[in-house]
Structure formats: C-alpha cells, structure tokens
Symmetry: C2
Subunit: 636 residues, 2 copies
C-alpha cells in the first residue's frame, strides 16, 4: 500500500478467499463451467477472436466493431480471476491462444486496436468522444493485470505496458500531445491497476491527466469535432452524456451514460486515493450521495432511461421503463468498492451488497447461459413489442455484448469483495460461508466463516491467527439490519456499530469465535415520496435480498394486487426452487374482474377478493418463461 | 338519404345549428379568430402554400413534403366549416387564393400532388404503403366538399372530381388497374363524402374497392415493395401497422397506427352504410368494441405507444408514456359519429362525447395558438428531456403538422355533432346552449336548447314546429348519468332510456317545452383491473368532463397524493379560471417528505399529512406553464 494513499483499507485478494456457500459458490461454479465457455464460443463465432488476426480487408463482411476488443478483454479478465482460484489448464491454454493473437496484433509503436488498425486506420484517435479506443485499451489493461496476477505470466502485461506507453506518448499536457480523454471512460481505473501492478508512476500520472482534463476549456470534444469537419459547438449541450460538461471536481450529480459515469467515478476514486487528492475525493463523495440518495434503483441498478442509457434526474426511477443496465450496476459496485476502501464506511458496502445480491446478478440466468442487458423492475411480456425495450426474456448474446463478460468477471472475482484489511486488522464486508487467509504484517490469520447468509442472519467466525495477536476485527452491520447481537467465545459482547461496522479490538488466540446474529425480518420498503413511480407501493426486502412477484407464482395482473399494511409476511425455505431460495408469502387482495363484463371504465367501486401472494428473490426472476413481474407492490 | 343506406340517422347539418354556449362557442370563436389565421400563416411561412406553385426544383432547399398537401387541405376544410357558419369575406378570399393555386397545380390527367409532381415525379403511385398520395387526395376531397357546401362554389369540387376520376382510372379490380390501396387511410371516407356531394356512384365504388382490397392476397404492399427492389416479404410482419394484415372483414381488433386505423374504420362504416354491407358493419362493430372496451384512454384518446404511433394490446394504457395523438382522438370521433348514425345507439355517442370534451380539445390551448400532438394522462416536466417524448408544453407548430389543422376542422364543424334526424324525428346527442332548425319532411322544427352543460345537468328544450306535428324527440341519456328526470310542458314524464336515448313521441305544438335533468355528481372512475397502470387509482369525472391534478394547484409530487375513499368531493364554479370551469376539491393525504432526510429507501412507514387537492378539467391542463399533471389519482 503506497504511503500517500488515502485508502484506509485494501481488499484481501481473491486468491486468499474461498467461498463454499450456497449462494455464491454455485453461481461462481456455473460461471466457470457454463458461462466462460459459451462466452468464448460467442466471441469466436461472432468473429471477435479471429478479428485479432488483422486479416479483415475493406469489402469483407462483418467488419470488426469499435468495441469488440473490450468484449474479448473482459472475457480474458473473467477467465483470469477464475484461473486464480480454480486452475484449469484447458482454459489457460485458450486464454494464452487469444493473448498470442493480441500480442501479434500490436503495432510497432505499441498501438493495439483491431478496428482502427484494419477498418479505419486513418481515424486513429480522431474521435475520442464517440469511439471506444481508450475504453478498449482500458479493458485490455485490466485483463492483462488480472492475468498476470493469476498466472504470473508477464507477456500480456508487457504488451499492455507498451500500449500504455504509446497512449502516454500521445496524450498529455506536454507540448505536442493531445489533450484528449475518452468519451467512454474505463481507462482511468485500468491505468491505476497497471500502476499498482507495475509501480510505474507514469501510468498513475496518465490516469490523473485523463481525470483532470475532462470537461476543461477549450473543450477537447468540441475542438475535435470541429477538426473532423463537424459543428463542434452543436453537441455542446450533450457533453453531460460523456460526463464532460464540467471539470470533474465541479460535478455534483451523476450524469449521462451510466456505465461511462460509474467507470469514471471509480477511476476518480482511484486517482484520489493514490494521489491523496482530497478535492477530487470530495467530488466523488458528492456524486456518490447523488446516486445513492436520489438516482439508484432498489436493486442497485442505475441509469433510468434507455435513451442515452443514462442517468436522468433526481428521483426519476421508472420501473417498467427502467434501463438499469447490468454493466452499470457492476460499475456502481466498482465505485462503491473503491469508496469503501477509502472511507471504510458501511454506506458504500450497503450499496455494494445491494447491487451484488440483486441488480447485477439479475443480469444472468441461473443456468449461466442467458443474459439481461436491462434490468427492469416491472415487466409485461407484451410491452417490448411496441416499444424500443429489449425483450423481457433473457438472451444468449447481444450485438453490443458488454454485459455478458462483465457479469462473468464480476462473478469470478466475487471473493475479492468479502474482506479488506487495514493497518489495524481485518474487515468483513460480506457474509458468505467460506475461508480466508489474511496476511496482517508478519502474522497470517485464517478466518473460517460459517453462515447461511443471505437466507439466515447468523454468522459464526472462527479466527486462527498463526500466533496470538492483537488486532481489530471489523464486522459490518448492514444498513438493512435494525438489531443484532454479538458473542465472542460464547459471551455476549455489548458493542456499537459505527459507520456501519462493529470493531472488535482484542488479543485474539487461535480458535477464538465470534457469533454475529443479524435480525432479518421481512421489511416493507418505501421509496422517497418524490419517486413518483413507487408512491403507494412497497418493496419486500429480507436481509440484502430484494423480492419481486412473478406471474409464474401469482397469475397475471400483478399490479392489481394490494398488500394490506398488517398482512403477516411469512418466509419459506424452498431448496428446490430457483437454485434454493427463501420465498415470502402473504394474504393480499385484488379486484374481482368478473364483475367488469365488457366495461373498461366504471363508476362502481369494485369488489375485492382475497388472494395469496408469493414473492421470490428479484435476481432469480425470468428463469421460468415469460410473464409479468413487479418489484413494487401496491400497499392497501 | 339514399334508399339502401343502413344509416338510421343523418346529422343535422352544421349550418342549421347555432351554438352560443359557454363551453363550445368561445372555443369556436377562438378557432376562427386565432387558430385559423395562425395556421394559414404557419402553412405560408413553412412553404406549404407556395409549394402549390410547383416551382420547387431539385437542389432547392425545403422540398415539399409528402404530407404537406394534407395540412393545407385540412386548413381549407376548417375554414370552409367556419365560413358556413360565420361568413367572412377576407377568409374566403384567402381560401379562394389557395384553391386557385391548387387548381393550377392539377396535371392534365387530373393528378394533383405537389411532392410527386415536383420532387419525385417518377415515383407516382410507386409506394402506396409508406407515402401519402391517397391520404393527401382524401383530405383535398374532404376540403372540396366542405367548401362547396359552405359557399356553393364548384371550382374546387370539380378539381377534386377530376382527381378522383384520375385515381379511379388508376386503381381498381379491372384489368390493367392497380389493385392498391393507401398505407395511410383517409381517402375511403373522403370518397364517400364526394359520392354524397355529387351522387356519382363511381366514387362510392372506388371507396368500396379500397376497403375490400385491403389485406387481400397476393398482398399489394408486399408485391409493390418487391417491385421497388426491396424485400417485400421482410415487412410482412408489420402490415398490421397499416391495418393490412388481414382483409378488413376478418379484422377483430384495432391495430397499428391509430390515426390510420380510425380513419379506415370510419371509412368502413361509411361504405357499409351506403352499400348496405352487413358483414362489413359487423367488422366495424367488433373493432369498435375492442377499442371502447379495451384500448381507449379515459379521455377518449387512442394509440398507447409512440413507437408506431399505434394501438398496442388489450388494456395497455400507460399514462406518462401515453401517445394518444390529437388526430387519433379526432379520428375516433369520426368513427363514433358514423356508427351513431347507423345504429342510433348511445354507446357511440358516449365515446364521441368523451373524446370531444377531453382528449381532442386537450390538443389545443385555450388561447388557440398552441398545440399538443400527444395527449399524456400524466406528465413530469423533466421526463421528455430523457426520452423520445415531445415536450409537455404546447407548441406553436410541428414539422409533421397534422394535429393543428385537424383540431381546427373539428372545432369549426362541432355543431354538426349535436343533432341528427331520422324518418321518425329528431335526436339530441349533445347538450349545448343554442338553436337548431331541423327540416323534417315538409315541416321545419326550431329547437331552442337552454343549458349550462357540461357544468350543469339541466337542459330546457323549446320546440317550435312551424305547424303542430307528430314526431319523436330522442334525448340522449349519457352513459355517465345514473339518474335523470324529464318534464314535458312542466309535467313529470315517466320514461325509460333505451340504447342510451329516451324517445318522446307525441304531437308537438309550437312552444312545447321539455326539461331534462341529468344528475351530475362527481364520480370516482376505476379502470378495468387489467389496466395495470391504473390499479389502485381513480379518475374524477363529472358529467362528460374528466379531471386532472396539476402542479399549479397542488404542488409537485402529485403521485404521492392519496384520496380517501370517503373524501367528500366538492365542486366549485370558477368563472375566472381557465376560461370558466367547475373545479373539484377534496381532503387528501400525502407523505411527509421532511422525515426522509437523505434516504432514498426506508423500512420505516412514512408519516402521512393532510392535504387538499384541487382538480381541473383535463382538457384545460398545460395552460399555466410547465408542471406535473396526473389524471389517475391514488385511492387511499
């Protein structure tokens, strides 16, 4: 951990954390066994792999698209995390094969981009605003760092350092360099990873340059467009789409394309952490609050509008018309995870957990083979036919295929989100059955975590330092939890949660146990009164899990169901359902439609009939064929 | 009335009905004094008038658009109805000037279309599916008939007969003719008007051909596309957009572009009426029921999706995302008015009234100078910035300017919707203060209607036949009315409403009076339980007027307002507000937002606070600056 870093915490690395729980472990296994192979195959058969051969010629069909490089990069990154935890010679050979092709595609000056090498070579760096060169570069850098970490092989990392050097030679504030920055952010956080992996200051400096230059005047995107012969000023009003409407330190709200935005914010947090830039960190905090307090769906998704795939305005969170791209929820996890390391505050872990258990993994089917790009909070099976919405049935792939490999890399890196360590000790952010080994100074601490979380709130931690030692064990008390109890070695311990964590600082001996009980009743969640779409409605949440009603369990007409305020909410462990879930049932009411005959409107008050509802975890929806779904249930 | 007609009724013509009420008369006056002049000016300055000079040359800017002819035609038609009731030499001179240009633009063979004469002459009749030649022709025919009726001048009518003859020579089932029909319907009903105005059977036959040929195989649009070098079969799946997915007699639901659809259905009703085609009439009835019972907004608008400006599926009636184009509500009025003449059933008058008082006139501001294309049932002032919706502020004009002249022609022809006559007597469909003169056989009946409708439910009719006579007076009992009383010459009369009308058949003497009292309480209207957007909500309706809440009266956050089931709904006569309206007030509740601090989601049940609501007539919304609006209010 560099000395000047603002980070209070650093994550306990992936390779030191093993999950064997019933929630994540099967998903990670499916990701490894099903998702990674089919994504490779999709990349192959759509031409994304062979594109690296650079043999596409003008006139050939299927020209390599500007974002293809990034799809392959994310698949490599996902594979790398998987290899780090689960060595697999066949998978490693596949990755090496692709890396060989990538390395061979690198130009003499280090440049490395398929589209702008074979399709539009004359347009290299000519349109940073709309094209995806720096974005693709960032994903390749992330992949190279991950693959180096996983395998120790340097080849890809070296390739990407050469490319980073090429980019560094091209962009910057020095005379003769371009003062540009990406229209689709990503490279900022990637360069910080490359800096951390190599220790080369120039990569951190380049990341800092990209962050600092953004939105400055004269405006690069305006001048660049003018240089292309366009009316550069004409698009000034839409610079917020690229988070380039203001210098980043002056930005106060989350704006524009939500994936770009959250990648940028994550990169800003990284740069702030590594450079000790408190003013930049303040901008991150302001934007964080805007997201978490005004622009985030209850499932942790962000980006309310399909038009521009973007943030819109405060409290604008349409359910059926949601966008909430899978990638955006993942990017929000990245931002949250970084802010958590900097501030060690539960507010970030709460959002991270919310997104992880709900709005990210909703993007992949339980069979690991079908994907959502959009993560609606309400759905009708016919609506998309008459709109620009995507189908509410999961798809095997997308033309713009950013989401499938993104969810794959999130799942294969998931163990990294569980723990952090600080100068003081170890921090437990997420609860999941498994083990970890944490190197604290010259001491190694084994942690054994026994729990049925997220279905039950009891967690038993057994700490085995290789020698008795004094350190702090910080246990997260989730924001959703209203009451909890802690026992250390079987004895009740009175402790307070501060900033979302309980600190157990003591002299620990091998075999010491900590029992944490988080009360986990079903909660009726309201949204802020200004969220016009959710007024009069509640969402059911239990622990970190957000629930929904699906037509498969409740019949059609879900919006007519009204849940009385005093209805008892029962939980049911259903090991055979949807991979094993806890469902919620309750008595509710709906209108009798028989009385309506052929009327569309009526001044007669409807007769109500009793009904029972059954709610399932939101992330598991759309695994049983098409049908209606709602998260926000009317309250009677 | 031709002998074979299925029509039980014919409308009492415009020139025989005078309105001097407080609701319609001021709107008609504003239409005459403000709207018609500005629409002429808009047509002039956008090039729509001068386009008739046919002096546009390739390379010139602003090429005449394929639908420009129709905008000018609708303006002429609107002006003609106005001239019929309110002679105006200056307006008539303007119209004559335009007509002279139109006449001069007619080609030797009778063809008359600006775009396909000067811009793409080689594409005449080449793309009936997407272009608007027959649609423009239809609007010009309607205008010509209206102008002839208003002024007795034949020139324009003769021009349009020549054009109709040209079309008749081109289209039909005879050898060598095209078996085509319009992708945008309108000419069907126009040809029936031309037939009625001229008595020429060939125009009715041509209308019948267009109706009958629609959707037949081999499919004209498929073959036509193939002939253009396109993949004709590729678009087969979207033939429903043009109501050409099936022969019309096999159609059972309202599909596709809602304006095209309702113009077609109106034309089908006309053809059925004039040809006595009961099977075609049955198709009209089936489609009518589908609209009225499953696909119509409470304000009488239709077309739930902006994508394709179209009907979607049963009970799909989104409020904020509504389309409900002004033209579509007007087209539905045309369909309703025609079905009403055929069947003399109040179900048609109910929809006609609903659309007239709400979802049509919402398309024009009270000042007569600003227009809506879409008629939302809920609106947030920021939403359109992040969607493909039009601004929720009324506009001065549109690039596609179909709606402004359409609402103008509806308003200037409004008196025509009030009365009909039958072999038996006279029918009163709408209540509005004014006078009418009805020729019943060789007797002339003066009717004086005294009422403050729609604000009060009392109507006093004084009948003055020029000689005592026996006939039936049919008074409509609106579908919204649950109880009414009738007195004839001051004496209570026990009568039953049948098919929406009370029949008073007796020997009438000059000065006889009929007093009708329609009870008009405020009603809470529910939508069918399958309308997912309106579950748990009610709309306020009083008489024919649908109400809404506007931010101007109720502050922001309208969706958080909940109206208790037992809240007393008070009415207030407000002569100074919005041109003079009755408003509704009630005690309601909303959540206290102060308790929310910086939380977006909370498991704590919110505190409720008391509030008062004030509802205004929907059609008058958006006349006081931008702000939220809702029609469907949450019920507590």
């Amino acid at each position: 951990m560099p000395h000047e870093s603002l980070r209070k915490l650093v994550p306990v690395p992936l390779t030191h954390v093993k999950l064997n729980d019933a929630f994540w472990a099967p998903r990670i296994q499916t990701n490894r066994n099903v998702t990674l192979p089919i994504e490779y195959e999709q990349c192959r058969k759509t031409g994304r792999i062979d594109a690296w051969k650079l043999d596409w010629k003008p006139g050939d069909p299927n020209p390599p698209h500007v974002f293809w490089d990034s799809d392959v990069a994310k698949w490599i990154e996902a594979a790398a995390y998987s290899l780090a935890a689960f060595p697999d010679a066949e998978l490693e050979a596949s990755v090496d094969g692709v890396i060989d092709m990538i390395a061979a595609a690198q130009q003499d000056d280090g440049y490395l981009n398929v589209h702008f090498t074979v399709v539009e070579p004359e347009k290299r760096w000519a349109n940073l605003r709309d094209q995806h060169e720096l974005y693709c570069a960032g994903h390749l850098m992330e992949a190279a760092v991950a693959y180096h970490d996983a395998t120790g092989k340097r080849a890809f990392l070296d390739v990407m350092c050469r490319y980073a050097d090429c980019i560094d030679a091209t962009f910057g504030s020095a005379e003769g360099k371009k003062r540009g920055y990406p229209g689709h952010e990503e490279i900022e956080l990637a360069l910080v990873k490359l800096y951390r992996a190599t220790g080369k200051q120039q990569y951190l400096d380049l990341a800092t340059f990209f962050v600092n230059e953004r939105g400055q005047e004269p405006h690069y995107f305006v001048e660049e467009a003018t240089a292309r012969g366009e009316d550069g000023e004409a698009r000034r009003g839409s610079l917020d789409y690229h988070q380039a409407h203001l210098p980043v330190r002056e930005q106060t709200t989350a704006e524009g394309h939500s994936v770009r935005a959250c990648y940028l914010y994550a990169g800003m947090a990284d740069v702030a952490a590594e450079t000790g830039d408190e003013k930049l960190l303040k901008a991150c905090k302001r934007i964080w609050r805007n997201i978490a307090e005004r622009r985030m769906y209850i499932h942790g998704g962000v980006g309310s509008s399909r038009f521009g795939e973007r943030f819109t305005f405060d409290y604008d969170l349409p359910n059926e018309g949601a966008y909430a791209e899978t990638c955006a929820a993942i990017a929000l996890v990245f931002f949250a995870h970084r802010m958590l390391q900097i501030e060690a505050h539960g507010r970030y872990a709460d959002v991270m957990e919310r997104a992880l258990y709900n709005g990210t993994i909703s993007g992949i089917s339980l069979d690991g083979a079908h994907f959502f790009y959009d993560n609606y909070l309400a759905s009708h099976p016919l609506r998309h036919r008459f709109s620009n919405q995507k189908s509410p049935e999961r798809q095997e792939w997308f033309g713009c295929a950013c989401c499938p490999p993104n969810i794959a890399r999130l799942l294969s890196s998931l163990p990294e989100y569980v723990y952090s360590q600080s100068a003081d000790g170890v921090w437990v952010h997420l609860y999941a059955n498994g083990q970890a080994a944490v190197n604290l100074g010259d001491m190694t601490l084994q942690i054994d975590q026994k729990t049925k979380y997220p279905w039950k709130g009891k967690v038993r931690l057994t700490l085995t330092p290789d020698q008795p030692a004094t350190f702090s064990l910080a246990l997260r008390i989730p924001g959703w939890c209203r009451s909890f109890r802690i026992k250390v070695n079987g004895e009740k311990t009175a402790v307070r949660s501060e900033k979302g964590y309980v600190q157990l600082r003591r002299h620990w001996s091998p075999g010491d146990t900590v029992q944490l009980s988080l009360d986990m009743p079903v909660e009726r969640i309201e949204a802020h009164p200004s969220v016009r779409h959710d007024c009069g409605r509640i969402a059911l949440q239990r622990g970190p899990i957000v629930y929904c009603l699906e037509e498969a369990d409740n019949g059609a007409g879900l919006n007519d169901i009204a849940l009385p305020r005093d209805a008892r909410l029962k939980t049911h462990v259903e090991p055979e359902l949807l991979g094993g879930v806890v469902t919620i049932s309750a008595k509710a009411r709906r209108r009798r439609s028989e009385g309506w005959q052929n009327r569309l409107y009526s001044a007669d008050a409807s007769e109500l009939v009793k009904t029972r509802i059954k709610a399932i975890p939101y992330a598991a929806w759309a695994n049983r064929g098409p049908g209606e779904m709602i998260v926000w249930i009317r309250q009677a």
